[in-house]
Symmetry: D2
Subunit: 358 residues, 4 copies
């Protein structure tokens, strides 16, 4: 059950309605927008007296069946400005996702060894030093959700340590994926952001655990879920306590099922970027690597994502893709990555130039 | 990497190959089928010397890239007989899923109160007493993975206690869904089977935790995943230690996305039953309630699932569906449930009569 | 633009509104339902004065943007009773689709020779003679829309002649598919019904040409279209003049794309039967052969379609499936067909017995 | 059945194999590639003696079951160079699709009046005069395949005459869609290219009729078909005689079904451009207007299509979109079109600069 307050409702009126709702034994979610305030009942909605609430001063309308704004916490309608998610701290440079400049999060699918990470990080740091437009951070999987349980599952905490060491050496923020509730705090302690993978998009308790750490969450879209389901699931990250301090959600579509599996692994769902931008105030990046799954097309897909409004790219880069322990088919070389960055910086600048490329 | 041994390979030859594989630092998964034995390397496959292994006595072929039998543990090709999953113990009657008779798992979407559960259980127990063909058990959600975080999330452990009490009173086995690793043992202690929901189909650590309890797992298919992905994910339940004693997997498709959301909530993916039956030796049941999402069609979908080879149905029954706290649209009344059971028993008997309805 | 008249609107009021609409230069589609009358503007809607029309006596509401009842001609809301489509004439037995008894339309994918058709027809006629419940007719393709242009394309008119001869010999009604406008009258002259294939579901001029003949049309659903699109397209058959005399539409879903192409060719879209039954007064049958594409599953799918409310089945039967020139994978033998008929008759009787199997 | 000749097979050997095949009563499709020649049997393949053919000099392998190259005529493997499709004649400027420069095909969804077309054409001609990079032609629908038969169906031949007149006045090539076999020659006589719409992608006789005219065919992808089905269907255009002289196919994806219909009408299937480029030597353009269905996103989608390798865009431009008789939601203004062209020219130039944007 939810209540939309009238545009001119006073704080006093809002407080009264909240107080009244609580007398029925529910918690109240309050979201203040530029014009209107939204109040959602959390708990046993059946106990609420809708007529009494509808009649209160300042109430525009109530919705008895369900919360009609399906994702009030992340909904653009109830917040004035876009959120720029800040990642990194004093020990690293800082990146700002959702602002004036694009972000490139690069690294191998799996952290395989200190040497491998050092090689990639060196390349990325070098690029970062010369690029006065793009921003950079590192990625690498340490716990791997593999479709097949009989294959390499990641280095685990050993990999997390490698990542932390690389972070210190190169001063670039790092992100890695957590698969279990207990991973979340560990990642929060060692890295700059937590990634939730596509397979866990609706593992709500995992989302809550990630949110509770207060770290920014890079949240990947499930393979065949709608954007609406994606937005709804994201509420669990904020319910967990995120959204305060240096935190927030970075949405990240990563491809959907295709009928043409003979030719490509997934089909890039870049249209999600358009919808996300219209519906939420949090920024969105795109994963060109998983969303097409073929190295030779990662450049085109990166550029297309930029054209569709991505605030950054999460891209698999490996010093020697053919020897990669996982996702060998879709990782690009550092040299290819540099070309992608150049092209994408160019398209991102076009977005600032042309109104039609909002 | 995997090895398929020749049909006539001796135990001695198999042992030798396993020993050789382990010298490279990997674990070996061995699956003995009626005719051939499958050996899969678990760990860092890159260390294996494929030429040396291919040349060994008794080896038919090796596959260097990946395990070519994508789901060796649940694969029908590597096991002689169908597994009949036994649920229940001395304190309840026992049901056998995958055998000669169908199983009906009935109950409300959510456990709401002791009274509500008692009413449903009384009805089901009464039906069970009179039906000498169908088998019965109870279901009810206590932790609810709701799409919207701002709605009722289940009674939690209080609900689990209600379920346990109903189990003792009526002597019917019970199942409920677990959403967190810590839920699994709790359910194993109080109930007769663990349900893994569609949203967690690829939450692999959750699957492992469920498997470790040794309890039967009712494993629901993700909304838009392929049957192949479903089978692959199920391996994680067995990797966790399941498959021994009174345990095993009961597959349960529950509907996929439809283009006709205007008319129905999901489209029943009953074709998954045909594929599961061809590919795995574990039994499969069907969830007509979620798979169509509209009460008036649950009867037809139940009958269709029976016609497609289901070994049972997981069906939402509520004493007063319109007052249900969750899924009010799709729960049937006890009276409707009785009709469904009668029709489905009839169709199940036909399957034993006609060869074309395997 | 459309107008819904009030429930008690008089004929005089309706006539006045129609007259007014025509003064704006549009044609008017009038559909009289049990309670309300629907008036749709055909032509340049922009010329209409909505305010003036809304203000007229007897008008309940107008919809300026588009016709809000998307398929007024086939819509159940505007017709009192279900239509039973009658197929066949004095020279054959007659079948009634949508009535008390199911219809089985059997025959090979392609008409290959007189001998082949005679063999199948003899078998079907024999079954028909002994079955006092099911009704029977014959099918066989003469113009074949093959995905690959470099394969067998059907016998053409020679095939049509074979079909006509078989019809005379055995007294069973026949149906075949037309692919070009010029085929429609030819089929109408030689056969008892016209089939429109899935590939032509939205080839609107073809639908109009089929409708114009006044023959019943068996209308197949496109592989990945929604039921809503299917219903909308069907309007073109009636616009073409059908729906009078011995005519009408028989809807026929035939399977949709599946993610599990490794195991099955299509996935049976039997849920379309539920929606069709709720939305249109015309009957629907099902094609189990194309919708699964694998002979070993055709029995299960036939039974499931019956459970979902099909009024009949369109099923590929070949005397020797492995030698079939087309669709060898999915045709059943006459012996298998007999079993399917027995099982489906049984399920159809259940539908008359149980309320929940409407 | 098909035969692949050895790389070094002589003309004499090839001729001998063809001759032999014909003795079995089939036609032979011969496709000569740079390295190898493909011979496909057209007709009753069952009569062929595979063993005899396999044993002939110069034969590399035969495939008895079906033609294993599913689309031999349009397949890149059997042709040396990309085809550049030339559109227009002495009375218009000429555009070259698939060459060094992009093509913009602009115009309203429907031809509504001479004035309307003149206004758009004037704008496009003006843009063309100033742009030394992009090429331009005009589009406008005269026969409209409307989902709803009770809405405006296009001006028909009157519209075709308007289009022809505009062509003469402005010297820009024009294209329009044909829906019936009889339309094809009419369009060929008045316009510069024939468009086949998404609904008719598998209306094979229509494709043959279009191909027979010898005019270039802009061939749109069906809403939910795979690229493989799209390529297979395209063979019918060439079977009809196209591919000689000033003719050829221009592939044009136009969007697929989306789960997010609440926010967008279709989802842009730009990934088809990557696959088409890899599989066929004919060029591909993209339709941003239908593929997203929302005016505010047409700019982003155009740019993304360019990034994915489109050789041009087919884009709906209307002088006053809100008053458009059809597709009012998705047409852009001339001013917006100009911005799109500028951005897309920029991205097209990037493709020539960066290797990763092939």
């Amino acid at each position: 059950m939810s209540i939309i307050m009238e545009p001119g409702a006073s704080d006093y009126q809002i407080r009264n309605v909240v107080k009244k709702m609580k007398t029925y034994g529910v918690d109240v979610l309050k979201v203040k927008g530029k014009y209107q305030t939204f109040l959602g009942a959390i708990g046993d909605e059946s106990r609420l007296d809708f007529d009494a609430l509808s009649a209160m001063d300042g109430v525009e309308r109530t919705n008895p069946v369900q919360i009609d704004v399906k994702y009030p916490l992340v909904n653009r309608r109830f917040k004035n400005d876009d959120t720029i998610v800040e990642i990194g701290d004093g020990k690293t440079n800082k990146v700002y996702i959702g602002g004036e400049k694009p972000v490139y999060i690069a690294g191998p699918c799996s952290v395989e060894s200190l040497e491998q990470m050092r090689e990639v990080a060196g390349y990325v740091a070098n690029l970062a030093a010369k690029d006065n437009y793009g921003q950079y951070m590192l990625r690498g999987g340490v716990w791997k959700p593999r479709t097949n349980p009989h294959t390499f599952q990641g280095l685990g905490e050993e990999g997390l340590n490698i990542l932390a060491r690389i972070r210190d050496e190169f001063g670039l923020p790092v992100v890695t994926e957590g698969m279990r509730e207990e991973h979340m705090q560990k990642i929060a302690d060692s890295a700059d952001a937590i990634q939730i993978g596509a397979r866990h998009m609706q593992a709500y308790d995992l989302l809550k655990a990630a949110g509770k750490t207060g770290k920014p969450v890079i949240f990947k879209k499930g393979t065949d879920h709608s954007v609406e389901e994606f937005l709804q699931a994201s509420e669990y990250i904020l319910v967990g306590g995120n959204g305060k301090g240096q935190s927030g959600i970075v949405f990240c579509p990563r491809g959907s099922h295709t009928k043409d599996v003979k030719y490509i692994r997934n089909r890039p769902d870049t249209e999600a970027l358009l919808v996300l931008s219209a519906e939420t105030y949090f920024p969105a990046i795109f994963d060109p690597s998983h969303s097409i799954g073929r190295r030779e097309y990662v450049g085109n897909v990166s550029a297309a994502a930029m054209a569709m409004g991505a605030h950054g790219l999460l891209i698999e880069v490996h010093p020697d893709p053919q020897k990669a322990m996982t996702d060998a088919m879709q990782q690009v070389t550092p040299g290819e990555f540099k070309q992608i960055v150049n092209a994408c910086n160019g398209i991102h600048k076009m977005r600032r130039e042309y109104d039609i490329l909002r």
